[in-house]
């Protein structure tokens, strides 16, 4: 029930932002469709009832500034490599795998997306606990899993 209500609130906020019309007719249409959507498909947004999703959301919000900072730093590194006149000496692309200690699927996905978002590394595959990564340089590869994994664990690994 709590999940349904939360879905309804989120849907309603989204509706208001998207429609931008506040008269009774449009707003009641929005409330009606949000109710229907919340009733039928709240389990898509909150698959496990009773999980501390508020804590999860908060963790994610704390994680985002760090991710954004990493993206800026990594972008500058790639910019340096691209503009370097002897670029072929600078890069050393290779594929490697590492074990992750993350347990929940959602945190593994968050980890994989973060790795791909930060330039210099692409996640190729996740199999069980192994993450396959294609790295552009030696330094980019060396920085994994390290700090990022710890941050993701802090944000999303909740028992």
């Amino acid at each position: 029930m709590k999940a349904k209500f939360a879905t309804f609130i989120i849907m309603l906020i989204f509706w208001v932002v998207m429609s931008g019309m506040f008269d009774a007719f449009h707003f009641s249409l929005g409330v009606l469709s949000c109710l229907l959507v919340a009733f039928f498909s709240s389990d898509l947004l909150f698959p496990e009832e009773g999980k501390p999703w508020l804590r999860e959301l908060f963790g994610m919000l704390c994680y985002l500034p760090y991710l954004f900072w990493q993206i800026i730093v990594a972008n500058l590194q790639v910019t340096y490599i691209v503009l370097h006149p002897r670029m072929l000496e600078k890069i050393d692309p290779h594929l490697f795998r590492f074990e992750t200690t993350l347990k929940r699927p959602i945190s593994k996905v968050a980890m994989a997306q973060s790795i791909t978002l930060t330039p210099g590394t692409i996640t190729i595959n996740i199999h069980e606990n192994q993450i396959a990564v294609y790295a552009l340089t030696e330094e980019a590869a060396a920085s994994l899993p390290g700090e990022m994994e710890r941050r993701v664990a802090k944000a999303l690994e909740i028992e």
């Binding site: 932002v17 931008g20 990594a74 790639v78 691209v82 692309p93 692409i122 595959n125 294609y134």
Partner: protein
């Protein structure tokens, strides 16, 4: 205000240019994907922020809603871009595109 908007747009443009240059200069398929899929993550967000700020010059509820919608584009890019990059890389690996290794020279 205009100056801030122009700075945002120009830095975004700069990183997009770096992305294009990267596609042209990198030696193989995978490293090109790095350049293609990544510079987006910063450049697109910078440009979107610039446009949203420009739209907010005359502050009212309608403009604010439009700006939020513009920022939602950035959220969408952040979800979709890594997923697409990941899918393309995996597909290339499955059909056996050979990665460039050090010392091979330019293809």
């Amino acid at each position: 205000m205009n100056v801030v908007v122009i700075i945002f747009l120009l830095t975004g443009l700069f990183f997009f240019a770096i992305g294009v240059l990267g596609i042209l200069r990198f030696p193989d398929f995978y490293s090109r994907l790095h350049a293609a899929g990544k510079s987006d993550s910063l450049a697109a967000v910078l440009m979107v922020i610039g446009v949203a700020l420009y739209n907010l010059q005359e502050f009212n509820v309608g403009n604010l809603l439009v700006s939020i919608k513009i920022m939602l584009i950035a959220v969408f890019i952040y979800v979709a871009s890594p997923t697409a990059t990941h899918a393309i890389t995996k597909a290339a690996l499955v059909i056996g595109v050979v990665p460039w290794a050090k010392g091979k020279g330019r293809k």
